[in-house]
């Protein structure tokens, strides 16, 4: 549990300004800026995103969770094939897994057909892919630490001993 406190804050909220971060950590703002810039440069921080509850925007967005089995290669194991797969822009996440299959993909599409087409046309036909199993996400309860439709804040007494 010795993650840098600055990184920890940014992981919780990427929109904290340098001043806010500096206030919370009692650091000079200049130092905060320099460290963030260094992380952005060396690839420690890859980017910043909003966590969106898309049921409220009315956007239709289908996410397929795909388990992939593949044949490891003599040099590099799964790496070459995994990074080839990850390059498709539909693939939003790609993980090497322990257990019953090798890669776990999260694939976005505007509808079921689009995701299905990606699996049947692009993924399955790739050399080295042994099998795929596609599951579709139905509802999101929590994403990246944020609960969807969170309960109301419970009330506290304003003054207590």
């Amino acid at each position: 549990m010795s993650i840098d406190p600055l990184l920890q804050l940014l992981r919780r909220n990427g929109r904290f300004s340098e001043t806010e971060l500096a206030e919370r950590l009692s650091l000079p703002a200049e130092e905060v800026r320099e460290r963030i810039e260094a992380w952005e440069e060396d690839g420690t921080i890859l980017g910043y995103q909003a966590v969106v509850d898309s049921t409220r925007t009315g956007d239709v967005e289908v996410v397929g969770i795909i388990e992939v089995k593949l044949t490891p290669e003599r040099d590099g194991g799964f790496d070459r094939l995994a990074s080839r797969i990850a390059k498709f822009e539909q693939v939003v996440s790609c993980y090497l897994m322990s257990g019953g299959y090798d890669l776990l993909l999260m694939v976005e599409g505007k509808d079921l057909m689009e995701v299905a087409r990606f699996v049947s046309e692009k993924l399955s036909t790739m050399e080295g892919i042994l099998s795929t199993a596609t599951h579709f996400r139905l509802k999101t309860y929590k994403e990246n630490g944020f609960a969807f439709g969170e309960d109301e804040e419970p009330e506290r007494l304003p003054v207590a001993p």
Partner: protein, 389 residues
């Protein structure tokens, strides 16, 4: 009917709580940012709440042993051994209570005869004086000073000891000051307690909330002290479980037995649902505690810095989640300062004198509040003190 003749003298003599008065004032308003609470701003970590729900689902709705569930007492003994470095027998030396407040009341009632003097350092938690009075004891506050970071100096204690002194209550880290006792002070206090044959009731409810890498030291762990210490602890602060009302005492068997006698006829046992939750907290709560502590630390540093920047003297507290800024230079009493701050800027902070006469001239600000609220509250305090200067 003239009820004043019906109420016991013991109870009638207890003054109305200063916090209560202030509470009534704040209640009527909905625009207030409150730094007036004495509890974490977190809901109890979910894994602990879930354990309580599961316990209910399984139909655990009965009484428990008067002392508390043996599984919980075992877990408490293990934790106390690891964290405080003191060994207690879970079968005869650990008593599970309804919060530390009950445990304190039990200890005082078990120990005091009418007229026995109870020493405690002040400013202090609001119940020490009333609980002493209701147990027929005489309250003897010993003032602590900002210059000593609100630690209790052995020399100050020595001056207050009389042949009637029987009990010393300690509370480090301290509510309301956040003060902690240095190793030298603790050793000096222990020496005095042994010399004068005092029993120590040590309320260590904030002991997990120590900052700056400091390790909490319990007076019970010092040589010769285990036998004369009632160590009180609980789950409210470190695990954000105030509403579960669960605490415990660790003390030599004869003292535990005496406290248990009162507990078994008044409370019978602590609620079983809360005991189940507490067990989960002890077994799996360390990560939650560490996460909350890190966040309190962030806020402590910010709040102290802001007070310094606006020219308000404020010591850096070593523990708990309170700061106790010195407002004497503004020429207003604690109460007036707090009232005017509430009136002018809708910020609630508790006047220092609610924690004893030696808290006069100070304000208790609890920084267990959302960072944005803290920031806004401090902006408003800064504006307010600007009008006083």
């Amino acid at each position: 009917m003239d009820y004043s003749s019906k109420i016991s003298r013991q109870v009638a003599a207890v003054p109305r709580s200063g916090i209560r008065d202030f509470f009534e004032l704040v209640l009527g308003r909905d625009d207030v940012i409150s730094l007036g609470v004495g509890e974490p701003d977190y809901a109890t970590p979910w894994h602990i709440r879930e354990a309580a729900i599961y316990s209910l689902e399984r139909g655990q709705t009965s009484y428990t042993s008067n002392l508390g569930l043996l599984s919980l007492r075992r877990s408490i003994a293990t934790y106390v051994s690891e964290f405080f470095g003191v060994e207690y027998d879970p079968r005869s030396e650990v008593l599970v209570t309804v919060g530390v407040s009950e445990a304190l009341d039990l200890a005082l009632r078990a120990l005091l005869n009418p007229g026995d003097e109870v020493l405690y350092h002040e400013p202090c938690y609001v119940s020490y004086m009333p609980s002493t009075m209701m147990a027929h004891g005489t309250a003897v506050p010993v003032a602590t000073r900002k210059e000593d970071e609100f630690s209790l100096r052995p020399a100050a204690l020595a001056k207050a000891i009389t042949p009637n002194s029987r009990v010393l209550i300690l509370n480090f880290p301290t509510n309301p000051t956040g003060g902690v006792a240095s190793a030298e002070d603790l050793a000096g206090l222990a020496k005095l307690c042994i010399e004068h044959d005092l029993i120590v009731i040590s309320d260590e409810i904030y002991s997990e909330l120590r900052y700056d890498g400091a390790q909490h030291v319990s007076i019970a762990s010092l040589p010769g002290m285990r036998e004369r210490t009632v160590l009180l602890h609980g789950f409210s602060k470190a695990y954000a479980m105030t509403g579960f009302r669960l605490g415990y005492s660790c003390a030599p068997a004869p003292l535990t037995e005496a406290m248990m006698k009162i507990h078994q006829y008044s409370m019978l046992c602590a609620p079983i649902t809360s005991q189940a939750a507490a067990l989960e907290a002890l077994e799996h709560g360390a990560r939650s505690v560490a996460r909350m502590r890190a966040s309190y630390l962030e806020r402590r540093d910010y709040v102290v810095k802001r007070f310094h920047e606006m020219g308000v003297d404020c010591h850096l507290p070593g523990g708990a989640f309170y700061v106790f800024p010195d407002i004497r230079k503004f020429g207003l009493g604690s109460k007036d300062f707090a009232m005017q701050l509430l009136e002018a800027e809708s910020v609630a902070a508790v006047p220092g004198d609610a924690f004893g006469a030696s808290g006069e001239g100070f304000l208790r600000c609890c920084y267990a509040a959302a960072f944005e609220d803290l920031k806004e509250a401090l902006n408003r305090i800064e504006r307010f003190v600007g009008t006083l200067a």
